[in-house]
Symmetry: C2
Subunit: 442 residues, 2 copies
């Protein structure tokens, strides 16, 4: 007698893009999930017998791993569209910093993050990597929404830090990790130093050491603008990546965000140290920062993930739109339409992101044993007709609103576009209340 | 006693972006429509009394002119995603041309165009400018769907044309115009010469003369690739715009599509001759053609409209996504975030397109006396919360799926995302049948 598998959720009938190393695509697939884990993913005809508690009919749909957004500042959804079309420094110092100074509170962070969670789920993101002030309130929002998170406690030096300051930072870092590590793998605590130009070398080194000791990711913004490179060169006499390499904060579970202004030797150094890169093309476009040389980084073996950055510089969290823009941007930037194909773009947004976050053994692909983070895309729409190639269709024609169902850690968090973990009306109202204060300049 | 206006449709309660010359934005507006024409557009408190046959409640929505897509090849929706990530010539000669040679038929054109109409309505486009083989079948699809169209009869020389050939082309042009001019302003016939490198000078001149005589638009692809510029230079001893200027086909109602590879003197020549430009940023990115210098063209006074190009090189017809990409692309390309702001991007996609198509007196803005082509955007969504600035929100956060209602020529063609003029299920099935043949290589 055939062994009957105990299965919580069975997804049947869709075309499964596994995003496995061999990039298997299974037409008319069956995916069995129990206890938060994928038990099988195979042609329906080969599926083991099971009596699932819930069956999701994915006929006419594509099923794929949830998207991994490697760089967000979720509370900034509160500032979406507050200031646009401005030079970076005017945007940052004239609008974002003052708005943050006045309005950042534990309440604002939780509410803004919760709205970000709603938007991410509705556009197919199942894991995000976030950093902001009071990051614990972002983690709480992720836990409440059921979204997997790599949460970065943020560090920045407003003035050169003394020993006491460094000691306090180290303590905060250790406390943050200890608080959230028990919730792994739904929560991965991490440490985020704002940048090489806003953190002293002692801060970077101390925080990196604590991250390494706890085996959690260490992240920072890096080479976002030309001005930043010039600043580091004048301050430390070398380009940013070489400076970071010299002070010993690359490698391990380090990842750098943006990496727009790297020369060849810096790309080599990132590759040699196995430092990952979080690529945020739309933010870099909108703020006119520049175009990161991603295909060249990948050719050197650097792990690359995709991110939307915060809402104030994008202005959305839609990874399917980000994918499309990313692929097109690199084609035109390098004047070569083959330089990033659809399958590569999808890998960056799934397995690439998982690798950058050090979670490649858990997420990023649909394979037995991995966490059950999956999305179902409804392909039966006018703008998705006809369908010749799944990868192309998803990258160049799908957008967030085509995501029908979302499963994270084996739990359905969106069904038929209805959010199951959040009261989206209340979430929106709560942020509108904050926006009213921002607008009134309270 | 207050005079009571006879009104077919009254839209109330939304925030109206008029896109008028003075860019008036009216909170809590009332828009009265009758007989296909906008009768009033004003604050609700100032609206004349009326007994409308239908009232549309736009509370929490933005109302704006329908989008003008200035460059499409709608039947190519049948080839959406058929071949991607390939060098231009391999894509064109190895995939598109063979697919067209085998599968283009009157039936394919009508079906593909109808699917394009469905997608355009669902993403807020109310006027398109199309060109393809057997264009009359595209026009029929537009008429059936209720979409306003500038329809370009296409001309191309497969070998150097003799006098008889030219005479035949002239006759076809005149016949096409005579057939469709009676349906103006829902249908504007126009003439589309494929390009300066695929049409002989006599063809260009003859077709342009007929267009001028009938006062209809004359259009062509221009300077899409560097190879094209090199070809024209080697053939005619000058750059494309100067060549077209010399043979007398610029100016009047001429418009050129793409214009990626122009030098300064060519930009001046386009401005001096009042030749419009149709800008297709996503197609130019995806095919790695290059980045048109649109802000520089606009600074010189050239009228610029936005287009998606055909579905096979985009791969969608969503003008709200095209807007977003356009603005970001020019910011990063010119390393200046102020070079194209949100209001400018919206003008390009509405009034700019109207001007390029010679329809600025009829469409492109919401003002009394203009054709009633309007869209209602539902702004009460997670990814559109909070709302600080309407222009920013629409350009950087809205996408086609946020369009709730569409009115063209005073008729509601989409209500609450339901298409009223098309059976979208049948339209999709009909194209899938064609795609099956393409896939089987019948």
């Amino acid at each position: 007698m055939k062994h009957e598998e105990k299965i919580d959720i069975l997804i049947t009938g869709g075309a499964l893009l596994t995003l496995s190393d061999t990039m298997d695509v299974i037409e008319d697939a069956a995916i069995g999930i129990s206890g938060g884990t994928i038990r099988f993913a195979c042609p329906r005809a080969d599926a083991p017998a099971s009596s699932p508690a819930e069956t999701i009919d994915a006929a006419g749909c594509a099923v794929m791993p949830g998207l991994v957004n490697t760089h967000t500042h979720l509370p900034m959804t509160c500032f979406r569209g507050l200031a646009d079309d401005l030079p970076l420094m005017e945007w940052l110092q004239g609008h974002m910093f003052p708005a943050e100074a006045k309005h950042v509170s534990r309440e604002m962070i939780y509410r803004g993050a919760l709205l970000g969670m709603a938007e991410m789920i509705r556009s197919g993101t199942t894991t995000c990597c976030d950093s902001y002030f009071y990051e614990s309130h972002v983690v709480q929002a992720a836990v409440d929404a059921g979204v997997r998170i790599v949460a970065g406690q943020g560090f920045i030096d407003f003035s050169p830090p003394d020993g006491e300051e460094i000691r306090k930072k180290a303590e905060a870092a250790q406390k943050f990790i200890a608080k959230w590590q028990p919730l792994a793998p739904m929560v991965t605590p991490s440490l985020f130093c704002h940048s090489a130009y806003t953190c002293a070398p002692e801060t970077l080194q101390t925080v990196k050491r604590i991250a390494d000791d706890a085996d959690v990711p260490f992240m920072m913004h890096l080479a976002e603008t030309k001005e930043e490179v010039d600043l580091i060169r004048s301050r430390y006499g070398m380009r940013p990546v070489h400076y970071l390499d010299k002070i010993g904060v690359l490698g391990g579970k380090s990842a750098a965000v943006h990496c727009v202004w790297l020369d060849d030797s810096e790309m080599e150094a990132l590759a040699a140290s196995s430092t990952g890169v979080c690529h945020c093309p739309e933010s870099n476009m909108k703020l006119a920062s520049g175009i990161a040389r991603i295909p060249e980084l990948m050719r050197r073996g650097v792990a690359v993930g995709l991110g939307t950055d915060g809402c104030a510089s994008n202005n959305d969290l839609d990874m399917l739109l980000e994918l499309d823009t990313m692929a097109k941007l690199h084609k035109v930037s390098m004047m070569n339409p083959t330089v990033m194909d659809a399958a590569t773009a999808l890998r960056i947004a799934t397995t690439g992101g998982a690798r950058v976050l050090g979670l490649q053994h858990l997420i990023g692909s649909v394979e037995p044993g991995k966490c059950a983070d999956l999305i179902v895309l409804d392909m039966k729409k006018a703008h998705l007709t006809p369908l010749y190639h799944l990868y192309s269709q998803i990258v160049y024609a799908c957008r967030g609103s085509d995501v029908r169902d979302v499963i994270i850690d084996g739990k359905v968090v969106m069904r038929n576009r209805g959010l199951l973990t959040l009261d989206v009306q209340k979430v929106m109202d709560d942020v509108r209340e904050i926006a009213d204060r921002v607008r009134r300049k309270d």
